[in-house]
């Protein structure tokens, strides 16, 4: 397990992380969501030892991360970082050596990863001569070249075209199949929903939701009911007990039911108004879950991951 346990960090009076806790099992992908400035990058930097936490620690296989363990982490920083004038192949080999491969193994690994990410014929070019998409691939290769046991990627998909996104996603899924826990942050929630086994939502430095996407849905499901009653007068559901009207437009009504709300009573009331063309629990998208989680500042109700 890769465990982030109670990470807390303040810059002066500004508390940027408050008891951030989650765990990523080997061979799973964890999507890290949150608004800008929520603290995702700080969390990852703490894992890499670039920022010191005020409290809490990150553990891999039960062992707190130290310099030696961190060498087995593949990292992709938010702000991309490569030597602009250094050749692709040499650069990859250099990072492989810094992670502990000997010179020969590093050279082989550099060739292999350049080839696998479609950079085979660009190995001799300086990084600055490559397109942004290709630079991104080199960046990923630099994270993978040392065959890391853990991958921590800060916004790996930003700035990629759809083809690049697919290529990167395939690459990450392959790592996951090989048993590597992958943590990545992203604003592309559809992508997170598609790829990740579990998701964490960070808001103002606190984890407001952690769990698998179905788990998060279940938590929200049972609350949102969509009823389409074309002939109903406006406000037809307003008087029902335990029911709040979220939106109502030409009979297309979104209702939030609390614990005392009875879905069957809603159905009965709907039938009384005339035709009912749609009646279903609404499955929220991750985007909606995210909006809701980030919007109200509740205490984290972590669902067991």
């Amino acid at each position: 397990m890769l465990e982030f346990d109670g990470l807390t960090k303040s810059y002066g009076a500004n508390r940027v992380l408050d008891d951030v806790t989650f765990a990523v099992a080997p061979g799973t992908m964890f999507g890290f969501c949150g608004s800008n400035g929520a603290g995702k990058t700080t969390t990852m930097r703490i894992a890499l030892g670039l920022v010191r936490a005020d409290a809490g620690e990150v553990r891999w296989r039960g062992r707190p991360l130290d310099h030696e363990v961190r060498r087995r982490i593949g990292y992709m920083p938010e702000e991309r970082g490569l030597y602009p004038k250094m050749r692709v192949g040499e650069q990859l080999a250099y990072f492989a050596r810094l992670h502990g491969l000997d010179a020969r193994a590093a050279g082989r690994a550099a060739d292999e990863w350049a080839g696998r990410l479609g950079l085979g014929d660009r190995r001799g070019d300086a990084v600055e001569k490559l397109s942004l998409g290709n630079q991104q691939r080199v960046q990923l290769a630099a994270a993978l070249v040392s065959r890391p046991e853990v991958l921590i990627l800060d916004e790996p998909f930003s700035g990629l075209d759809p083809v690049g996104v697919d290529a990167l996603a395939d690459g990450l899924l392959e790592q996951v199949r090989g048993g590597v826990p992958v943590v990545f942050s992203s604003h592309q929630l559809d992508l997170v929903e598609r790829l990740c086994d579990s998701v964490g939502i960070l808001a103002r430095g606190r984890m407001v939701a952690v769990g698998t996407v179905p788990e998060l849905r279940q938590r929200e499901a049972g609350r949102l009911l969509r009823v389409v009653v074309p002939d109903a007068p406006r406000g037809w559901a307003a008087a029902l007990p335990g029911v709040r009207v979220v939106s109502e437009q030409a009979g297309d009504t979104l209702l939030a039911l609390d614990a005392g709300g009875d879905d069957q009573a809603v159905l009965a009331a709907a039938v009384r108004t005339g035709r009912v063309t749609h009646f279903a629990w609404r499955e929220p998208t991750l985007v909606e879950l995210f909006r809701e989680a980030v919007a109200d500042d509740r205490t984290p109700e972590a669902v067991a991951a």
Binding site: R45, L48, G49, L50, V51, R52, H67, E68, R70, R71, R72, I73, Y75, P77, E79, R80, G81, L82, Y83, P84, K85, M86, E90, Y94, F95, R97, L98, H99, G100, L101, D102, A105, A142, S146, R147, E149
Partner: protein, 394 residues
């Protein structure tokens, strides 16, 4: 996996140093600057050779010379810094022919009652030298004839306070050239270090690097790598310079030359360690190459001041300014070699200066290392010195 080993600190430092060397050695600017420095040095020596051969030796043919007139001319010539080479020719005709053919610069016809000097062109120095030599020989002859005991004429004993003037002068010239090279290389390589630090910050690659190593390992590797390159370059320049000077016969005291050059190289090592560290730390405070100038200026001024004082010290090595500045860290690598070359520096003075410099380097590395570590990950704008120090402690 199993092939992964944790590299030791030394291995990491070596890797960083190796990358610096291999990327710099392929840099066009570096290659061009190296070639230019060597060419410049060869040019200076070639110029020396041309200047020396042009004016300082005169060939004088003496016909029917009075006994002793030749050596007298040479002695007089030496007094005014003119080498006179004597050529013996049998008669006036041969001498005139030699003069026409420009085989000699002048002919002294000393046979008749009135000695005569034939010249292709007027040459006031040679005229004066020959004139006084002839007069001296004549006066001596007449005095001897008159029975005057020449032993009674007091001989003037000459002692210079500065020791052997010519050798010292040469050493000082070598020291000035050496210090000029040293100054140029210090600026060049300290700038390389500073640019490298900013490049890593600007390209954010520093974040990847620091995930695998500590700041001091990165700093040490960078300074060592470029230092090795700088040392190689100054040694190359020294070897070319010394070899060239000996081959062209520009210097007369090879031993002194070599010792001065070795001194300069040794001071380069100390100066580089100091300036490279200071420049690296200053550079770590900014995140763009454009901001580099503003943080490097104070240190560059110190370096320029050292150079100016060194040139001034060459003229007056025992001045208070030179003496004091030869102990000031940062200035001493430029001033002390000149004072050493001029002589008159006791061993304890050199030792003191070296120790002060080493202490300064230790302080810079300690304090600077903390600033560097604290500022390295602040990749936005300019970091204040105090913030950087605080950040590291936090």
């Amino acid at each position: 996996m199993s092939e992964l080993r944790t590299p030791s600190s030394a291995a990491l430092v070596r890797m960083v140093a190796g990358r610096e060397v291999s990327s710099r050695i392929r840099d066009k600017n570096f290659i061009i600057s190296s070639v230019v420095i060597v060419l410049l040095l060869l040019g200076v020596m070639a110029f020396q050779v041309v200047v020396n051969s042009g004016s300082d030796t005169s060939r004088l043919a003496v016909v029917d010379g009075t006994e002793g007139v030749g050596p007298a001319v040479q002695a007089q010539g030496e007094a005014v810094g003119l080498d006179v080479e004597l050529v013996d020719l049998p008669d006036e005709g041969a001498a005139r022919a030699a003069l026409e053919a420009e085989e000699v610069d002048a002919v002294l016809l000393d046979g008749g009652a009135a000695p005569e000097l034939l010249l292709a062109d007027r040459d006031p120095t040679l005229e004066a030298v020959v004139g006084s030599a002839v007069a001296e020989v004549a006066v001596t002859g007449q005095l001897v004839e008159a029975g005057v005991d020449l032993q009674a004429v007091p001989q003037l004993g000459v002692t210079t306070l500065e020791g052997d003037d010519e050798a010292d002068g040469q050493r000082v010239v070598v020291a000035i050239i050496g210090v000029a090279v040293l100054y140029g290389l210090l600026i060049l390589f300290a700038q390389f270090v500073a640019q490298g630090v900013v490049e890593e910050k600007a390209s954010r690659v520093v974040e990847l690097l620091l995930a695998t190593m500590r700041p001091w390992q990165l700093l040490a590797g960078k300074i060592l790598g470029l230092g090795v390159l700088g040392l190689a370059q100054i040694v190359l320049i020294a070897v070319v310079g010394v070899t060239g000077a000996l081959a062209f016969d520009v210097v007369s005291v090879p031993g002194e030359l070599v010792s001065t050059v070795v001194t300069v190289v040794a001071w380069f090592v100390l100066g580089y360690a100091f300036y490279a560290s200071v420049f690296a730390v200053a550079a770590s405070l900014v995140s763009r190459q454009e901001d580099l100038g503003s943080v490097l200026t104070p240190m560059t001024i110190l370096l320029v001041a050292g150079f100016v004082v060194a040139i001034q010290a060459a003229g007056d090595p025992s001045s208070t300014l030179a003496t004091v500045t030869s102990y000031v860290p940062g200035l001493s690598p430029l001033v002390m070699p000149v004072r050493q070359a001029a002589g008159e520096v006791a061993v304890w003075e050199i030792a003191l200066s070296v120790v002060v410099m080493l202490v300064a380097i230790a302080v810079v590395v300690r304090v600077g290392g903390r600033v560097y570590a604290g500022a390295l990950l602040r990749t936005t704008g300019k970091t204040k010195l105090r913030e950087a120090l605080r950040a590291e402690r936090a």
